[in-house]
Subunit: 159 residues, 2 copies
């Protein structure tokens, strides 16, 4: 099972690829796509989706795990992030992938056992769970890895 | 110039294709995609986008004119409609199309000369402007045609 984890956004988008074999988890890739604010919104969408398409082609993930968009103070941002999320869902559907969506609460609960965990706590648990040596500094990337772990944990629970 | 006009939605999506040569406007196609509420949200997204892709391949529009999503009482609906809108924008970008977004106010102003026009007034003006003989009953389809007309009208104004 290969999970593509996405923390959606058009300014910064976190992406992680996690491979799971029996109970072994291996982080295949993780990065943050940061787009240039001087570019048009459409150029930024295209840049992000081209990179995600490339990642799908490279790792052939069978599952997309993506964070649900929630309302912040800026409603326009929420709508724009949803547009990006829509494109990623579409790419997943076109590639026959399963799709799972998680709220920030579900992600924090799965990774830290506590829905109100801080960013710092999530970061520490991600490093611990995956035995990552290097420090992952980017918050969006950490979130994307945490989303992969949430999906992976759910797959352990027999239905 | 061929304009693809879209009133986005996942339950019902209005679509129209308008051809413009010099000042002559010709309605090439118009329809409403209505998806089955018993299907999953993802199946509905895929059904809609497949049909839009087919329409793009058939008419080769050079311009997408799409309605902006605004906040209704139901925020979840606004987010889901934005996801569908995102996919359509992506398809337009992939096909090298220009993209224009319009608010309901801009559309009503362009078609009826009055931003608070009723659905009935928009319907009458659409029929009048395009000399459509048959009655177009579906509101989403009428909106999609009105979006095409808005884009077409803007292109008449020298910059």
């Amino acid at each position: 099972m290969i999970i593509l984890g996405i923390d959606p956004g058009y300014g910064r988008l976190g992406c992680a690829v996690l491979k799971k074999e029996s109970k072994q988890e291996e982080l295949l890739d993780f990065f943050c796509i940061e787009t240039n604010p001087k570019k048009t919104y459409y150029e930024r969408i295209l840049e992000i989706t081209n990179k995600i398409e490339k990642t799908i082609n490279e790792y052939k993930p069978d599952t997309l795990a993506i964070e649900k968009v929630y309302f912040t103070n800026n409603q326009k941002t929420a709508l724009n992030v949803s547009e990006v999320k829509g494109v990623i869902i579409y790419l997943a559907l076109k590639n026959g992938m399963e799709i799972h969506e998680y709220t920030p609460l579900e992600i924090k609960s799965a990774v830290c056992g506590y829905g109100k965990a801080t960013k710092e706590q999530v970061k520490k648990m991600v490093a611990l769970l995956l035995n990552v040596k290097e420090e992952i500094k980017n918050d969006d990337t950490i979130d994307a890895i945490a989303i992969c772990l949430t999906c992976s944990a759910q797959k352990n629970i027999p239905k």
